[in-house]
């Protein structure tokens, strides 16, 4: 089976600093993968390369067998790559409902959008996201007025509506309470299977709860890969993390 995502020998340098150094990584359909690594390991840069925000100096990225290395961001997003940023980013001047509506799957060209009417399947997807995130009572509120945690939920809800084949999630539980963290873990775990999910996270406790496979990045390369146990007992990983 072809992998959903195949990153092959990707190198990115910023002013001589190699953020990614010949990185190779592949994900199969339905996987939930955690990316960990110390600061500057290249986790966010890798996300940027996959979503088209950063163009690599060399190497290729294939999504569903298609080379997406040089495609613009909105095209890659249209193919089914979703991304959640580290800081919750919602549209502050739009209501919760409108935020969700902007994510529905349809033609996103200007003219089609100008004459768009909300279809019943869109309405259903929005209702489902409102229910899963517990934001039903807030649907008419401006997203800018939500509490921090609610914004995180809204952003996750937006991804639920978008239904991307590949979902990249950057530090989903930063600033969340224990209870919220557990619910986030549940949602992410339920997404895997139908979707392929990549989670970047510093919270090792959280990674332990959800991870099937963990990839450790270090200095722009894959240092180790495997189950949480294998990775944690790997002496190289211990060295990088503890600086022993």
């Amino acid at each position: 089976m072809t992998p959903v995502l195949a990153v092959d020998q990707v190198t990115v340098s910023f002013d001589g600093f190699r953020a990614l150094d010949g990185l190779t990584l592949s994900l199969s359909q339905g996987e939930l993968r955690c990316l960990v690594g110390p600061n500057g390991a290249g986790k966010t840069t890798l996300m940027d390369v996959i979503t088209g925000k950063t163009r690599p100096a060399s190497g290729t990225v294939r999504f569903d067998g298609r080379d997406i290395t040089r495609l613009p961001e909105h095209v890659i997003a249209g193919l089914g790559v979703g991304r959640k940023f580290q800081r919750p980013t919602v549209f502050p001047e739009h209501t919760v409902h409108e935020n969700l509506e902007l994510m529905t799957r349809r033609d996103k060209g200007v003219l089609r959008t100008l004459f768009a009417r909300t279809r019943s399947d869109e309405r259903a997807a929005i209702e489902r996201a409102l229910e899963l995130t517990g934001l039903g009572d807030e649907r008419r509120r401006l997203a800018g007025l939500l509490a921090h945690g609610q914004k995180q939920w809204l952003e996750i809800g937006m991804l639920l509506v978008q239904q991307p084949k590949l979902l990249l999630v950057d530090e989903p539980v930063a600033g969340m309470t224990q209870e919220e963290i557990e619910r986030t873990a549940e949602i992410l775990a339920s997404l895997a299977g139908d979707h392929t999910v990549v989670v970047v996270e510093h919270d090792m406790e959280f990674v332990r709860t959800i991870a099937q496979t963990v990839t450790v990045l270090h200095e722009g390369r894959v240092l180790a890969q495997g189950s949480m146990q294998d990775v944690q007992s790997d002496p190289r990983v211990v060295e990088v993390y503890l600086g022993a």
Partner: protein
Amino acid sequence: MTAAVTSPGRPPATRRWARALVAVVCACVAVAVPLLNVLPPAGSALHVSDFFVTLVGKLACYAIVAVAMDLAWGYAGILSLCHGLFFALGGYAMGMYLMRSIGAEGMYRSSLPDFMVFLDWKELPWYWHGFDRFGFAVAMALLVPGVVAYVFGFFAFRSRIGGVYFSIITQALTYAAMLLFFRNATGFGGNNGLTDFKRILGFSLRDPATRAALCSVTGAALALAYAICDAVVTSRAGRVITAMRDVEAKVRFCGYDPAAYKLFAWTLSAVLCGAAGALYVPQVGIVNPSEMQPSSSVEIAIWVAVGGRGTLAGAVLGALLVNGAKSWLTVAFPTAWLYVLGALFVGVTLLLPGGVVQLSTRAGRARSTIGRAIGGLSAARRAPRAPPPRGVPVAEQEARR
């Protein structure tokens, strides 16, 4: 442009009020003022002077420009400083038709426009062909600003030029165009521009009835421009446009191409400006390169800022208020106007960032605060206040409330 006060998510009641307000303005311009000029005899208390009709027509043209500017700036977050250029291009296209329709009645009794005879030109330059037809001129008044905006915007937005950089380039664009139009050799009458028009579609421009009809058409055009922009900003594309203004990067990851949406709002805005220019020129009787001065375009931004960015009705109000004040003050206190304009811009930016439309929401809030205070007082009289829970500082209680 995060300071915008409203979005398509605002309560529909506000939008209904805004629509009603603009409908009243348009009805006055399109129906009431022209009729009161034509029907009651001069000297009657109800009679509206010819001067006033032209003034109202002019103000309505400015209001169209303000609505267009608001679409680009207030909603899409593109601060254009070359809307004066689009206005002038529309005006020149109409001016060329009006020049051609003078026929051989000019000073030199030639079929060529006077300035060409003066420059000793023997025949019409190629780009003047077709302008003897009204329909062609109207099409060009919309098409030329649209194409200029599209080409310019295509490269600027694709290269992701935004914010003040975009504004500065647009200012340079209108300045360059002004220098070009100042040259006699460019073929648009140099610094005198196009003037001495006689008639439009066979009707004399001196005839008050023609003036009244032009005012009426302008009112209808304002209604149409408002309706178009209102439909755009309340559509889903409008929500994408405001989302893009607020968080452009996120819109991209939602699968929308910001460059395409900006180009759409920007080009539509330019076309509406061209229409306004085409309506303006027959009413004021002249078009010259001074319309392309950067300061004219800056003034357009001030109208919108004063009225209220991101509210189309605010833009209409701003254009009417500022230009109404201008036409009064430049007569009453000619030297004071620029100071007033400057003070207005600084004052609005500091005290009323949402423009004059913010006054209505402020008034509403003040009313409800007073209402709550009165309600609170009477409630307090009925029931004694519960003692504060122990161990919680008063300030913290306040903060919780």
